[in-house]
């Protein structure tokens, strides 16, 4: 199919959720209270299919060696496996070149890398970094750190009551001193899909590069970084069916070439002497030390899995679940959904008048239902809505309408306790 940046396609004619669930061993386990697991916290981390678990185990069982240095066959195979994973991620994200795909520990490390290696050398006192009020702490704190180091300042594009950023405000705030726009593609707390194509257009018209925090977008949307024209895109393996401790930073070749290394160490050098050290070419320049080779292999298997199901089919399935959950939860008295953006994926965040999110979470846990209760690492956003916390149900390709029904029954039990 043709890649369309950040677009969702029509529902697939058939979507065999039972067959998908059978691929995820954890989904057939029970909690210590004997309840079937109802996992509605994929925005925190997704579960892993057998194919990913087997790829990681298989690498350690038969393919493990260090990469880029051994002259023996096993090392060559490990290197090939690692390079193949990079190529899979290049394709998955729509990058032009495999060397624009930097393997990281996760979204957080990707954003810190850009803040320190791209932004820091360029920032002068009084320069501005534009963020939005929707951001996860991982797309706030790295910018606060670099602002403190350089005398730059962080400015915040506001959101409306639905949880949508204001493009008018963004356009107004893009000024002579703006050096960077850093924005979540999809809000982890509310599920809002930001109008990233338009944001990039506006920022580029002002000569400002854009970083997208793609942690919540990469598992759910078709992302095409080249079509979007985005400068940096960071995402995490563990939210997209892959292993933890693994992530991807996409960066435009010209920008990555001009940046100094983020960390020094083995594997990132051309040659080292005490007088002068030269850097390895991309992507090795940004991958100091032995990387998470098995993690890359697992992430490669994860994107294979997602593509075997099909991103348009997954998006349609998840969209139907969010719509159904929204409809059922909206009918519950004294329950309010937080985040009602026109374009949303994967997440339904809510509060109840009579029960705190933690109490909701504890009672649902008793029923085997896993949701997130808290500030979702987005405290400024919570304050924007006058809340300390919300309860959040989030969906992935393996969830079902029956699990939404279980959630609703669990909430009825919360009401019975606190009503």
């Amino acid at each position: 199919m043709t890649a369309t940046a950040g677009q969702r396609a029509r529902p697939a004619a058939t979507y065999d959720v039972d067959a998908i669930r059978a691929d995820f061993p954890i989904l057939s386990t029970r909690t210590s209270r004997g309840r079937p697991l109802v996992y509605l916290d994929s925005a925190a981390t997704s579960q892993k299919p057998r194919q990913v678990i087997d790829a990681v185990a298989g690498f350690y069982a038969t393919g493990n060696a260090n990469i880029h240095r051994g002259v023996y066959e096993l090392s060559v195979r490990a290197t090939d496996a690692y390079d193949l994973a990079r190529e899979k991620l290049r394709r998955y994200l729509g990058a032009r070149h495999a060397h624009e795909i930097i393997f990281t520990r996760g979204t957080t490390e990707g954003i810190n890398l850009v803040a320190q290696s791209y932004a820091r050398p360029r920032l002068q006192p009084g320069d501005e970094i534009l963020l939005s009020a929707l951001e996860h702490h991982s797309n706030i704190v790295p910018w606060q750190l670099v602002a403190e180091q350089t005398g730059a300042r962080v400015r915040v594009v506001p959101v409306n009551d639905a949880g949508e950023i204001s493009l008018d405000e963004l356009e107004r705030m893009l000024g002579d001193r703006t050096r960077m726009v850093a924005l979540s593609h999809v809000s982890n707390a509310l599920g809002t899909v930001n109008p990233v194509a338009r944001v990039i257009e506006l920022a580029h018209a002002a000569g400002v590069p854009v970083l997208l925090d793609g942690a919540q977008a990469a598992p759910h949307l078709e992302v095409d970084v080249a079509a979007l024209g985005v400068d940096f895109f960071a995402c995490s393996s563990h939210k997209m069916l892959g292993p933890t401790g693994m992530g991807v930073l996409y960066g435009r070749e010209a920008l990555l070439e001009a940046m100094p290394p983020y960390q020094g160490g083995g594997d990132m050098i051309g040659s080292v002497s005490f007088e002068k050290t030269t850097w390895a070419p991309l992507p090795a320049k940004f991958e100091a030390g032995t990387p998470h080779i098995a993690g890359a292999v697992g992430l490669g298997a994860a994107v294979d899995y997602i593509e075997s199901v099909g991103r348009p089919a997954i998006a349609a399935h998840e969209h139907a679940l969010v719509e159904y959950a929204t409809e059922r939860l909206s009918a519950i008295p004294r329950l309010r959904i937080i985040g009602t953006a026109a374009d949303k994926v994967s997440v339904v965040s809510f509060v109840m008048d009579d029960a705190h999110p933690h109490d909701i979470g504890t009672i649902l846990d008793d029923e085997g239902i896993c949701i997130r209760a808290g500030h979702h690492c987005a405290q400024p956003l919570m304050r924007r809505f006058g809340l300390a916390a919300t309860a959040r149900a989030s969906f992935a390709l393996y969830n079902t309408a029956a699990e939404v029904d279980a959630l609703v029954r669990g909430i009825e039990r919360v009401r019975a306790v606190f009503g």
């Binding site: 209270r33 029960a355 933690h358 109490d359 504890t362 009672i363 209760a373 808290g374 300390a388 606190f418």
Partner: protein, 150 residues
């Protein structure tokens, strides 16, 4: 294993709905804030100390779950009129029970024994102890907000 009904006993639900001593105290002698960075919950505790370090008045206010609110509410009722050292000693016994380090039967907690079920819910221990940590900080004159992560 403790059930939901043991965690959310009616006395806890009652204190959650109608917390006692729930106000900011004017002219307090001591004040401390308890904060849980994992969930964003925060509670302030205010004290008036009289002769012989007796807690003449105590109040709390903030945002939190049923467990943290009810625990702080019942704490204020339990320590009002107690001496500073008695209140700190009660902190130790309460803390020992909710963290599962001390059997409830030996701790002689009186009404506060309703929180002994919390020990079975490890992620909720910090909720039950948030107000108590703030009380302890106020009694020990800590100026920085106490951070409860248990």
């Amino acid at each position: 294993m403790a059930t939901m009904n043991e965690l959310y006993q009616s006395v806890i639900l009652d204190h959650n709905r109608s917390p006692r001593n729930y106000r900011v105290m004017e002219n307090a002698d001591r004040h401390a804030e308890g904060y849980n960075p994992l969930c964003g919950d925060q509670l302030g505790v205010w004290l008036k100390l009289g002769d012989g370090d007796v807690i003449d008045d105590v109040s709390f206010q903030g945002s939190g779950c049923a467990i943290s609110k009810a625990s702080a509410s019942m704490m204020t009722a339990a320590v009002k009129g107690k001496r500073r050292d008695e209140a700190l000693e009660l902190f130790d016994r309460f803390h020992g029970v909710v963290t599962g380090q001390r059997p409830a039967a030996e701790a002689n907690l009186g009404k506060l024994a309703v929180f002994s079920g919390v020990a079975e819910f490890p992620v909720r221990v910090k909720c039950a102890s948030l107000g108590w940590h703030a009380l302890k900080a106020a009694l020990e004159r800590q100026d920085e907000p106490v951070v409860s992560t248990e």
